[in-house]
Amino acid sequence: MVSDMYLQIDKFYLEIVTLLTMITALALSLWSARASHVVAAISSSLFILYGLYSGEFRVFYVVSGLVWLFSSTFSALHDRERWYSLTFSGTLLGIMITLLSQNYLEFLTGWELMTLFAYASIGVYRREWRPGYTFLAFGEVSTVLLIAGFILAYQETGTFLFHTLTDTLPLWFTTFGFTVKMGIFPFLMVEWLPIAHGNAKPSLSSVLSASMTLAGVYGIYKMMSLCPQTQALGGVLILIGAFSVLFGALYSYVSDHMKGMLAFSTIENNGAILTALGSLELSADPVLKAFAQFSLMVYVVAHSLAKTGLFLVAGYVHGESMSTLSTQRSFSLEIGTTLLTASMSGLLPTVGGVAVWSLLETLFMESISVGGILGLIPLLAGVMVGMGEGFATGAMARFTSFTSLVRPRGGERGRLVLLIGVLMPVLALLSYLLSPEMAGAASLGMFSNSLIPSGYSGGSFGGISPLYVLIILPILSLITYLASGRRRVRTVDPWDNGSGRRLTYTSFGMANNIRLMLRFVLRTRKGAVETSADVFWRAILQLVRGYVRFSRAFSRAYMNSSISWYMIYMILAFIVVILVVFL
């Protein structure tokens, strides 16, 4: 009891110190960029420490802390501009306040700080403000929705403190406010534009893509914990999420812009997270809820860290277009990228694999437990997620191939990437710590608590043991290696029918099959690209005229399929979903 109180006090001080350090970082940036980044890194580590002590939101805190730690370390090594360090640490501070907020007002303050600094940062870099405007504009759209939601909450409870609610309306409002920020359907330029436009440096890109969207997830999760359950919202979120997964992955597959394809994959991941949130909201069964929560948390971890790593990879590459970029590969970069993309492709034994596994498991179990027509929602979502994973694997393979695999060997760089890469299997190992308290099936040959069984309807629906896979795979490989004896290796030129030509294949070419096969979806013409900017799209983008021009140029150069169609699918999906649920 007493120790508990001490802990409270310690926590309080820790919180203050963390915030102060970040503010110091902000101040220092006026004097030296590097110093500011270093301090920001320190503050991030403190925040991680703080997160470890805090209860149900532990995961959000620790993960955000790690993202900041990595990106600010990267900046400390590579970025020199003071302006940049100012806006960067400002953004971090904003997110930090949002996460630590005890009431709606603090939350909004943090939210605005984050938005404004990020906007400034995007503008400052390359001195081009239009994308910044877009970003800000949509940032404000979300803010408006949030304020609306919060006001409703205030009217009900009469206090700004986070307090349980009886009405679901605030949840609806805020949820959509947050999804705007997460860059889910039509508002995806919030997430996608500044990054894809190359107006954000690697470190900020990773913060925008990993940490800021995470703040959105945190917001929804928080509001859900306050509001009563609404299955309707659950269904909506699941389907919207699934659509985002499928189309985000598809467009990431065909995009030929390095950061662009990462940004699309972020949309895919946010979609998956949204699906997890949705299934958390949809199901009534407590066991299932627990498992849904588990998959949500694992997905948050997997996406945020892997995406951070991949954006940092972009920092070691010259050029933005996958087909024309130039770079050299190093052991660290190659292995690091491979591990990161493995996680992004949702493969065991990485944390991404656990995430995909648990999400699908959740969805399919729900389709039984919910039953009836409503049971079809998670089912279809599951299949869409499956297809999305297929596309993601392809996109990630292409990313790795043309950022490292086929590149000539160069100096030893990118140890940071390797570090984050190694985290992927390690986190998979730890994932059963997050697992709801139904682990520990002392089944045949299992180590106790190494199993993550999706305990459902008495008997176990299924289960995996990351620990197990991680132990057995290397052992079996070693046995294979030893059993197959030593090998004589000779280095030769690749066999290209004896022509002596080297690799001429472009990244664009590697993705072209899909462009041809799904012509009717992507609206691509052979090779070149259809750039039909249609009415509806103009309507949305009155406030971002520049974006249309850019989207044309961009789609011609990088997207090679008109972005407007992507928008339309998302919006249609949205409308359809709304209809499905309310009729």
Binding site: R490, V492, D493, W495, G498, G500
Partner: protein, 201 residues
Amino acid sequence: MNWFLRGIRRGILTEKEFPQVQWPSELHRSKEGEVKCPTDALKEDRWDPNRCIFCRACEPILSPTGRSVQAQVKRSEPSFRRSFYLYPIDVGTCGGCNLEFRLIASPQHDMTRFGIFLTNTPRHADALVVMGVMTPKMEEVLRRAYDAMPEPKLVILLGVCAVSGGILGMPPDIRGDVVIPGCPPTPESILRALVEAKSGE
């Protein structure tokens, strides 16, 4: 009719004995007389199969026996006894060797019963089958193909062009472990040579 049923109905067409071929086959001197051989395959009355293009200019002083032309196996590789993958390369043929070589896959000959297969990459190949006279641009390609093959490996010279250049040019400069004369060599003689090359019988 469904081709599966057709296949079943036809049964197995693989043969043990192959019909005699007059040209090319081992020649023997049946008459006395002077012969003007365009490729000097006849030196002091010795008939040299490695130079002969079987043009029938020496008929009837030399006449065919119908025995298929003997290949020379200088080196064989026992580890290919049951699994022998070939990569054919054409450095300047008339198309005849290419065709006859493909015909060892025909149901009548069926190379696969001896564990002989064709492959489309030198990486998987155990033997390089060289056909035709040397042409300038193919020299580099031939060298690359040979390089691209893993040890142990064999080189098979197929057809008089690859062996001695025949009447049309010079042979490729690569040492052949197996030499199969004939213009073009018959599938039978190719098959015999390959079987000998992989097992040493």
